[in-house]
């Protein structure tokens, strides 16, 4: 099946008008597979970090959400060791009116506001709840070590 027009147009618009701090480029051999980078938001422990992610648009897209995963190690309560992201719009709250751009902006926002009450990485979440300052420090160290 040919690539749906929506994916072509989304790709064009992403390239022509990228969201601040976010880049997404499709693989040449698979236009449903994107290499993504997200800059850590200012004021967060991820500031100055550049995080690599992969994004895949399944056959059912946009009726099903894209699959997104961090490739860069990150110390965040809603992102686990494998880079999987706990974000409702990537699961049951997906809407076909959302796009690659909005998904990536949501992930960037998640970096600014970790939610340890709905954790994916239980140990990180515990750390964040018990001693947020120390946990943020670890996040910062990981950012400096892995996300540059």
């Amino acid at each position: 099946m040919a690539l749906p027009k929506r994916i072509i147009k989304e790709t064009e618009r992403l390239v022509a008008d990228p969201a601040p701090g976010i880049s997404a480029a499709p693989h040449e051999d698979n236009l449903r597979y994107f290499d993504v980078t997200i800059q850590g938001p200012d004021g967060s422990p991820f500031q100055n970090g550049v995080f690599k992610l992969e994004l895949f648009l399944p056959e059912e897209y946009p009726m099903a959400p894209p699959k997104v995963r961090f490739l860069t190690k990150i110390y965040h309560p809603n992102i686990d060791k494998l880079g999987r992201i706990c974000l409702d719009i990537l699961k049951d709250k997906w809407s076909p009116a959302l796009q690659i751009r909005t998904v990536l902006l949501s992930i960037q926002a998640l970096l600014s506001s970790p939610n340890p009450d709905d954790p994916l990485a239980a140990d990180v979440a515990k750390h964040y709840k018990e001693d947020e300052a120390a946990a943020r420090q670890v996040s910062k160290e990981w950012t400096e070590r892995y996300a540059t």
């Binding site: 749906p4 009726m63 999987r84 709250k93 809407s95 076909p96």
Partner: protein
Amino acid sequence: MGNSASSSGRVHHEDTVDFGHLTPQGVYSGTRDWKEDVVTQLIIDRKLAPFYRPLEEYDPSWEDEQILAARKEPPLPAEHESTGTRSDATPPTAKSTHHKRPSISKELPRNAEAAIYKDAAECPICFLYYPHNINRSRCCDQAICSECFVQIKRTEPTVTHMVSEPACCPFCVQEHFGIVYTPPSWRAGIGSEGWPTPTWPDSPNSQRAFDSMRARPGKQKRFRSFDHTDPDVVTVDRIHPDWEAKLAAVQAAAARRANRRIIMRQVGDRLVPVGITSGRIHPLSVEATGAEGDGGGSRRSRRRQQQQQDLNSFLGNMSFGGRDLEELMMMEAMRLSLLEHEAQQQREAEERARGGTEDSSNSRPRAESRNPSSSPPNAEVTSDTTSPTVPSTLAAPTFDVSPASSSTPNLTTVSLPAPQHLRESPPNGPSNHNPVQGPSSPYAIPRHPPPSRMDSFASSIATHETSADLDGYRFLSSESEESIVAREPLLHVEGNDA
């Protein structure tokens, strides 16, 4: 893309509505799981925009030929044979080749087909362009083409998430998503008899046609939201009326699974699991088991019935909390151990049966010391508590039975709501060996097994409760991402049920 527009683009008005089609034009390739006859009727009734061939691009300055050339290729008949299962899914292009050319078409110049796209609207979901009077969401007045609209449906219920919530608006997330459609002031094709036919001036890019495609007077500009019960609204449920049947089917499947029982055979002084009953048979009658129920499984199934049929009578005085989940995980671990080691268990049990006196002399004192007085109030309670024997039985899944129980029947059942979401492999194996099918069998279970045996069950469990929890979780967390995700709805369901 548009090079065949002139050959295939001619619209035959016998099977079109206002120059649009009754069947999708190939934006999506999946199966058509909406009710096609309902959709067809809604299009004919002008309650839903017909399936127009979308434009892949649009520029207001385009000439008619450019517009026609920008239309998406119509779907190939072969595509539908492979994807569609319904016979009435014949694509309009295929149909039209069999029809004689309708006389009306010569009255409608070709530019009419282009004129409908004047001021085309982009569907924010498929990013394609449609005639201006596209469907609008009932709640927030967003454009959505019919092709995308028919794709939207309730999330399919699963065994782990046995609810069916109304589909939400993709734009404003309001429940009971529905659309309203304002047809043009003229009619063409099906149902156009007695209506003014559009008068298309000869010149291309006709301003008049463009205007007549606009909403009817009185309806434009000022938006009001519609209730989902408004007769002008077409809801997702209206074109997917099968959601209730789907939900019922999942509930029935889960109930069958939950009704399964492990069949235990007493070998010497031990109880050895030898099979699993069919879920279709209700193992114990409600009267016999009383209000506390005959095990987690059938309680769950009854709860489902209650949701569906409002049978509150059995359940009024029950309160179940997170215990169900715990029970469920332990029983699943137990079931797995049965699958893996069944043959081995059988041999082992028989061996032990031969030297059984030693075992029982070891186990009995412990049992008695832990539960000095107890004879469980009724068999069902103990039947429940026996289920968490998992950890102690994983390695050698046999059960201590004190000699006092020698006079009891040979078989007992333990409820087993084998949940699909905890594992990948389908249930199999033991059911084939099943020697007993429910309570009617002469070997079937005592409804009130003697307390002594239950004592020893309970004692063997109690010491391992904590590790049972851990085992259950460890089992889950080693699963794939999907399984972990599935755990959330499970918890949710349990919470709701209780």
